[in-house]
Subunit: 214 residues, 2 copies
C-alpha cells in the first residue's frame, strides 16, 4: 500500500492564499502584481512566493511583476480549479452541513451535487440547497456518474465502512474529516483534514508565548 508522495506540498498549500490576494488585485483592476506585494500581505519572504509561483509555469515581468489574469489562470490550472468537479457530502451532520454551505468551494470548482445520511429526519430535506439522500442508496446513485470527490463527515467509527462503499461507487478522491485512517486502493486518493492538528499548534504557540512574557 504505497502512499502517493506529492512534491512541493508546502508550496501547493500556500497557493490558495496567493490566489485570494491575486483575485483581490484583479477586483481592484490591477494588471500586474509582484511577488513582493503578495509576500507582504502574507508575512512571507518574496523569494518564497516567486519559487512557489514558478511551479505553476507563470512567467513574470521584471520591474512589474506577474500579469494578474494569466497568473490566476496558471494557479487555477495547476490546482485543477479551472474546471468544475462534482462532489458529494457523506454525513449530513454539523460539519457536513457547514461544508455544504461553504460558498468558497464553488469558486474553487467544487460543486456539491448531493449529500447522504442515514437519519430519516434528514433524508429528503435540503440543506443549504443540497438534497440529502439515503446513505443506503449511495452506490446505486453515484455509480457511473462523474462525481470525483467525496467529503467524508460521518462519525469516525463508520468511516472505513463508508469509504469502502465510496470506493465501490467509483469515487476517486476522499476528503476525510474523520479521525479514521482509511484503507483504500492505490488509485483512490485520500487527504485527511485534521482540525485537532491546527489546535495543537495554536495551543503550543500560546504556551510558548506565555512563558516568554514573564
Amino acid at each position: 500500500m504505497a502512499r502517493l508522495k506529492i512534491s512541493f506540498t508546502p508550496s501547493i498549500r500556500r497557493l490558495p492564499s496567493y490566489l485570494h490576494i491575486i483575485r483581490n488585485a484583479q477586483r481592484n483592476s490591477q494588471f500586474y502584481i509582484s511577488g513582493t506585494v503578495i509576500a507582504q500581505e502574507l508575512n512571507l519572504e518574496p523569494i518564497q512566493v516567486r519559487k512557489d509561483l514558478a511551479i505553476t509555469g507563470i512567467i513574470g515581468k521584471p520591474k512589474k511583476g506577474y500579469p494578474v489574469d494569466a497568473l490566476i489562470a496558471a494557479v487555477e490550472r495547476y490546482l485543477g480549479w479551472d474546471e468544475m468537479h462534482d462532489a458529494i457530502v457523506v454525513g449530513a451532520g454539523n460539519l457536513g452541513s457547514a461544508l455544504m454551505g461553504y460558498p468558497e468551494f464553488r469558486i474553487h470548482g467544487l460543486h456539491i451535487v448531493a449529500a447522504f445520511d442515514t437519519d430519516p429526519d434528514k433524508i429528503g430535506k435540503k440543506i443549504h440547497g443540497v438534497t440529502v439522500l439515503n446513505l443506503a442508496d449511495l452506490e446505486s446513485t453515484i455509480r457511473g456518474s462523474k462525481v470525483d470527490y467525496a467529503i467524508l463527515t460521518v462519525p469516525s467509527p463508520q468511516a472505513q465502512e463508508t469509504a469502502d462503499t465510496l470506493v465501490r461507487s467509483g469515487i476517486r478522491a476522499i476528503w476525510n474529516f474523520t479521525n479514521a485512517k482509511l484503507k483504500v486502493p492505490d488509485d483512490v486518493v485520500v487527504h485527511r483534514e485534521d482540525l485537532s492538528s491546527g489546535y495543537a499548534l495554536l495551543s503550543v504557540m500560546l504556551q510558548t508565548r506565555k512563558s516568554q512574557t514573564p
Copy 2:
C-alpha cells in the same frame, strides 16, 4: 512584527493523531504501546513516531514500548491539553455552529463558553448548548474573564475589525477560520486554518494519480 516560529511544527501536528491511537489502546486495556504499532496504524515510519514522542519527554521501555497512561499524560501535557481552556466562538454561522457542536474539543481541553454574532435572530438563542450573545457586547463580556481562545468564523471582510475587538478584550489566541491575514500585537498568537489548502492538495493528488493511470 516578528512572527513566532515554532520548532517541530510537523511533529506537533502529528501528536493529536498519535493521541487518538494511544487512547484506543487504553480503551482496550493495553498497558504498553510501541512506536512501531502507532506507525503502522498511520502509515508512518517507526523512527518518526519515536522522534515525535521524544519531544514530549516520555521514556519508553525496550521491547515493550511506551506506557500508555504515562504517554497520554505526556502528550496532553506537552500540548497543554491537560487543563481546560475557555474559548468563545465569534461568528455563529454555518462553520461556527458546527464547531460549537464538535465534541472532540472538550476532550482536548477546549471549553466553548459562549458565541457572538450580530444577527438578532440568533442572539439569545442556544446552538449546541452554547448561548449566542450580541457581538457588540463582546468586549464588556469578555474583558477580565479567563477566556484564552477565540474561534473566529465571521465573514472575511469583518475579520480584522473583529480581531481588533478580541485583542482589546484580552484574548491571547485566535483560531482564524477566515481568509484574512490578521494584524495583531506580538503577544497574541494566531493560527489560520485554511480549508482550501487541504482541498488544493487533494486536487493535485487526484490529477497526479489520474495521469499515472493511462
